[in-house]
């Protein structure tokens, strides 16, 4: 098997086909919370990709030395230390965005995406492929965040990255902002719709029915 081809697949697979948010159900919490504007979504994406890649490399480097019983604690401590660094950097240089993200940067620690990838991949692979896998997953996550963030900012405020794309009606333009877009429910609807769209294009991702309709009435419990 050509090694280069392999790395390329590892990098591109998580973008759509194995997307961490829409297929693996990892890291949804932060994906929805920070997507009211593109700027916060982009900051969050970059922070997460950096933490994820570094954590994967570090854990992969010491993977032969971590005892199996305490590996979760070791992994969490590594991830938490990286997150503290990122958080301090954001507070120092991007104070405004850091305030907008509030606790969600710290919550990268418990983002299931980070632990999920280190558990599933970095623990069994050399640092090189682990970094590529982590980076690919970070990009897949970023893609979803930017799509949702872009839609919510565009329709909620008529802006993209803070620039007025569609002139607002109360400022002499034609666009009336949909304030629902900035509230929590719309994030769920958008992500649900996105999952639907991806699965309509890639039917092999569709899930089997969750519950078989009961064939007989069960006895009262």
């Amino acid at each position: 098997m050509a090694a280069r081809f392999d790395l390329w697949t590892t990098l591109t697979e998580p973008l759509i086909r194995q997307n961490p948010v829409t297929l693996q159900i990892l890291g949804i919490c932060s994906a929805l919370a920070v997507t009211t504007s593109l700027a916060t979504a982009l900051t969050m994406s970059i922070s997460l990709t950096v933490v994820l890649t570094l954590a994967a490399v570090l854990i992969s480097l010491i993977r032969r030395h971590i005892p199996d019983t305490i590996r979760l604690i070791v992994q969490i401590v590594i991830v938490a230390s990286l997150v503290i660094v990122i958080d301090q950097v954001l507070q120092a240089y991007f104070a405004e965005i850091s305030r907008a993200l509030s606790i969600y940067v710290s919550l990268i620690t418990t983002n299931c995406l980070v632990l999920g990838r280190t558990e599933a991949y970095a623990r069994h692979h050399a640092p090189g492929p682990a970094a590529v896998d982590a980076f690919g997953n970070g990009l897949g996550y970023s893609l979803i965040l930017l799509i949702i963030g872009g839609v919510r900012e565009l329709f909620g405020r008529g802006q993209l990255f803070g620039w007025q794309v569609m002139p607002l009606a109360d400022q002499g333009g034609w666009f009336t902002p949909l304030s629902l877009m900035l509230l929590a429910p719309s994030a769920f609807f958008l992500l649900g719709g996105l999952v639907w769209a991806i699965r309509a294009l890639l039917p092999e991702q569709a899930e089997a029915p969750e519950h078989e309709p009961p064939t007989e009435v069960r006895a009262a419990e």
Partner: protein
């Protein structure tokens, strides 16, 4: 007393963890496929949140907050940047302790929880509870009430979603929407419903 009650209701309904703050969604969606596991998750969340938030309050105020070491002659020491690691440690230890206690004294409940007790260590809602507690500068009693309220809110939401998803057995959904897609849309609808609690809080 009424203040505490208002705080409890606000934590449980207005600032509902999964539906308005998007916290703990991974477990929220993964374990709401059937009501039984949803009830188990709800109880575990309430217990762990109710214990860890006040415990982390003690650790933060006693060891980490700026000026906490004044009594030892070092008033300038600010260890608050360590709070993340400290909180995670406390949460992991609490979850482990709860698991061991249940295993020892209530093996049947422990068996019912299965894998999701250890999973709570990496639950964003639990860590989020502790971080909000620092952010909003609660007192000790307030932090306990806040922890319990958030847990109850999470339990209510997850049981409701579990019940709804069971009913989907009778719905003929498009293939692409089955599972995750419809779960998101249901959560969105519930989130709309919970948004009305915010109006109640305002008009009060």
């Amino acid at each position: 007393m009424t203040d505490l009650w208002v705080l409890f209701l606000a934590a449980a309904f207005v600032d509902n963890m999964p539906l308005t703050l998007f916290l703990g969604l991974c477990t929220f969606l993964a374990l709401s496929k059937r009501p039984e596991s949803a009830v188990g998750l709800g109880i575990a969340m309430t217990g762990v949140l109710g214990v860890t938030v006040p415990l982390n309050w003690l650790i933060y105020q006693g060891l980490l907050a700026p000026g906490a070491w004044t009594w030892a002659g070092i008033p300038d020491l600010d260890l608050s940047y360590l709070s993340l690691i400290a909180f995670i440690g406390v949460i992991a230890a609490t979850v482990q302790l709860v698991e061991m206690l249940l295993d020892r004294f209530f093996p049947s409940i422990h068996a019912a929880f299965g894998v999701f007790l250890p999973l709570l260590t990496v639950q964003c809602a639990i860590l989020g509870g502790s971080l909000f507690m620092v952010d909003r500068a609660y007192t000790f009693v307030e932090s306990a009430v806040f922890g319990l309220g958030s847990g109850v809110g999470f339990a209510v939401a997850v049981v409701m979603l579990g019940a709804l998803r069971t009913r989907l057995a009778y719905a003929d959904l498009p293939a692409g929407l089955r599972g995750l897609g419809i779960a998101f849309i249901l959560t969105g609808l519930m989130s709309l419903g919970f948004a009305s609690f915010a109006q109640m809080a305002v008009s009060q």
